[in-house]
Point group: C2
Chain length 396, copies 2
């Protein structure tokens, strides 16, 4: 950590924020307390107390109640659970699911599985900025539609969806609405009092909590079937011994973020604009993806058509700069991002795309250093012939 | 932790072992390294290196290869995944599943769900010691049997199953064999070179690792469908950002246990025998459950017919002693254990049952203190009328 703090510039927050010190401290204390939250003895009660405090912390980040939060092992689990659990609970009959074309793969691939089990799935297209049209979503609804799942923000290009309007339109038709807020949670205030979503997915490691800790908000009164059975944990909603340290870290990070996020946003926007203006002036061939204003404050997606994104990431890495490569979840299988393709990008554009995401610790000096190094590295990549991804990997 | 170490006696290891110091240290270091194991930059590679080291550690505990270990969020997830993933992979046609009547609820309730989806499930009975008869398991096999899942050891009564023989008989018929080794892993050597199981479930918090970290061993060449899709993590077998600290802690605990376990077993057996002899002489009404010799070395299940197990646990808790109450997973919904019922116990017997499980730190002095306190507490429970569970809870 010290090494990175001193020498490296970490602009891959969307694929994992550094752990906030408050979260780290709370986690260390949780270990000391030990115990299984389901046990009635002192150690169990202590563990349970920590867990319930964390639940309230996570709820505070999205303006929900503690009882509406269930801990999961990741945003991916929360997404898989939302899609299968909400539909299997049978609140509304019908076998039609509506998603957007730019959802995270954990939504799209779970939807594809449901298709094999007899579900009909509509993937609503997006415009060149990556946004769905609420009227198009509404037009996709049928009497058979049981659930609509559309993300709050896109992790690859940073575009925000009009989730408030989407949720209101979908709810007005008596249909369940889920939103994947994993990419949004550390960057934007999320207010579930204003957005009437039935369910919302979170991952701790997008807002300063540990990786491998997630949560699903399920609005009070909404039925959901568990994914894991055979235990009374999480009020019977998710069987399995809890990752207590992860839960405690998530709760503490959420508490800190709920308090500090509003104050951080102007700074992120300023740094991001400095970065985007700098890139535009120094790299005229670069293209910035996503919506110009309706976007995550600390997020930039940059395409250098003709470059190889992985080679670019590795070249920047050698200069001490960490950036993202589309979605880290699928990064090791290089193919054109489904998000960029849905936005109309061709392969040359999509395969040369990197993401730069700013965090709590990002400084103006770091941005300026990136602006100094990126054009040189990019020029090497584009003009000097591309370093084959394979050989770069071997040299690790 | 110090508090407990100094003043409390923790005999509820089966529901969560204290974190080994080596695991704790490794976890703290993992945080410092940060990073998403799927990212190609320096932070990502460091995280990935830690994860792969942990995988080899876990493999060493069960004599498997690293590539045969996939990390999960709990033993419950490993069990749910084994049942659904092995059967859906369609290695063998047929819709018949064989389990034992004393499996963990995560197996039995997942099986019940599969029944609703059209599967036939046979639950093979056990004898009064809680053991299945391999001939009875074999007799249950049909040409439609796709999978047999029988535990290595029972967490509630400590009885071991003849898994080696079971696996050989089932494999000889060309049927897949899974075993839930969650209760066994911290207490007994597990040798997957000697036991030809196709899959085996583990949970870190039964062998000194953190709660909320599990793994599924899947033998090389055996097909399994993922539970979570939409990411390339774990070689595509389990999508979702990894709980890196949990994984690292699990790997380190496994490494320590693989080394130290054989040397600890004689001590556990000695302490357990001291405890069981002491209980038999001081509490003639007590009944010890499970097999007398084919059992976990540090595990004792004691029934005090007529007592209320939860009241007993809380009364012992007030004396500074933590013991288990059937399965912690279902402890908050008090009803007679399905395990004890399958072994022929009546309700009065089953509802008065506690488990005492010894750990790395258990001492002779602690055992003697339990033997001094337990008879007094038990006498108060049985003679003085039972404290209603509800009022005990309220007084927490």
């Amino acid at each position: 950590m010290d090494d990175r703090r001193l020498h490296r510039i970490y602009l891959d927050q969307i694929n994992g924020t550094p752990l906030l010190p408050q979260a780290s401290e709370a986690m260390k204390e949780a270990w000391g307390k030990g115990g299984n939250p389901s046990s009635p003895h002192a150690e169990g009660r202590a563990a349970n107390g920590l867990k319930e405090r964390a639940r309230v912390g996570v709820a505070s980040l999205v303006r929900a109640r503690g009882e509406e939060i269930t801990f999961t092992s990741s945003g991916t689990e929360a997404n898989a659970w939302a899609l299968t659990g909400l539909t299997k609970a049978g609140t509304r009959k019908g076998n039609h699911l509506v998603v957007s074309a730019v959802e995270h793969p954990s939504i799209l691939q779970t939807a594809r599985r449901m298709e094999k089990e007899g579900w009909k799935v509509t993937a609503v297209p997006v415009d060149r900025a990556g946004r769905v049209d609420p009227a198009a979503v509404e037009a996709a609804l049928t009497p058979e539609t049981a659930l609509v799942s559309i993300q709050w923000a896109n992790s690859e290009v940073g575009t925000l969806q009009p989730v408030g309007e989407l949720a209101r339109r979908v709810k007005a038709r008596g249909i369940l609405f889920h939103t994947d807020a994993v990419a949004a949670a550390g960057q934007l205030p999320i207010d579930l009092k204003a957005v009437p979503a039935d369910a919302l997915s979170l991952a701790a490691n997008t807002f300063g909590g540990p990786p491998g800790a997630g949560a699903l908000f399920v609005r009070k009164g909404v039925r959901i079937l568990p994914l894991f059975v055979g235990g009374a944990q999480e009020d019977g909603r998710r069987a399995g011994t809890e990752n207590l340290a992860g839960i405690v870290g998530m709760g503490e990070a959420a508490r800190v973020m709920a308090r500090e996020l509003p104050g951080r946003i102007p700074g992120w926007i300023g740094l991001r604009d400095r970065l985007s203006r700098g890139i535009e002036s120094r790299l005229p061939e670069a293209r910035l993806n996503g919506h110009p204003t309706e976007r995550l404050p600390g997020h930039l997606s940059v395409s250098l058509p003709g470059a190889d994104a992985e080679a670019l990431v590795l070249a920047l890495d050698r200069e001490g700069i960490s950036v993202g490569i589309g979605s880290a979840c699928t990064a090791r299988a290089m193919k054109a991002s489904h998000v960029l393709r849905a936005m109309g990008a061709d392969d040359a554009h999509a395969l040369g795309t990197i993401t730069l995401t700013l965090g709590v610790e990002t400084t103006e000096e770091e941005i300026d250093r990136v602006l100094e190094i990126l054009p040189r590295v990019a020029a090497g990549q584009i003009k000097g012939g591309l370093t084959p991804a394979g050989s770069s990997r071997d040299s690790r």
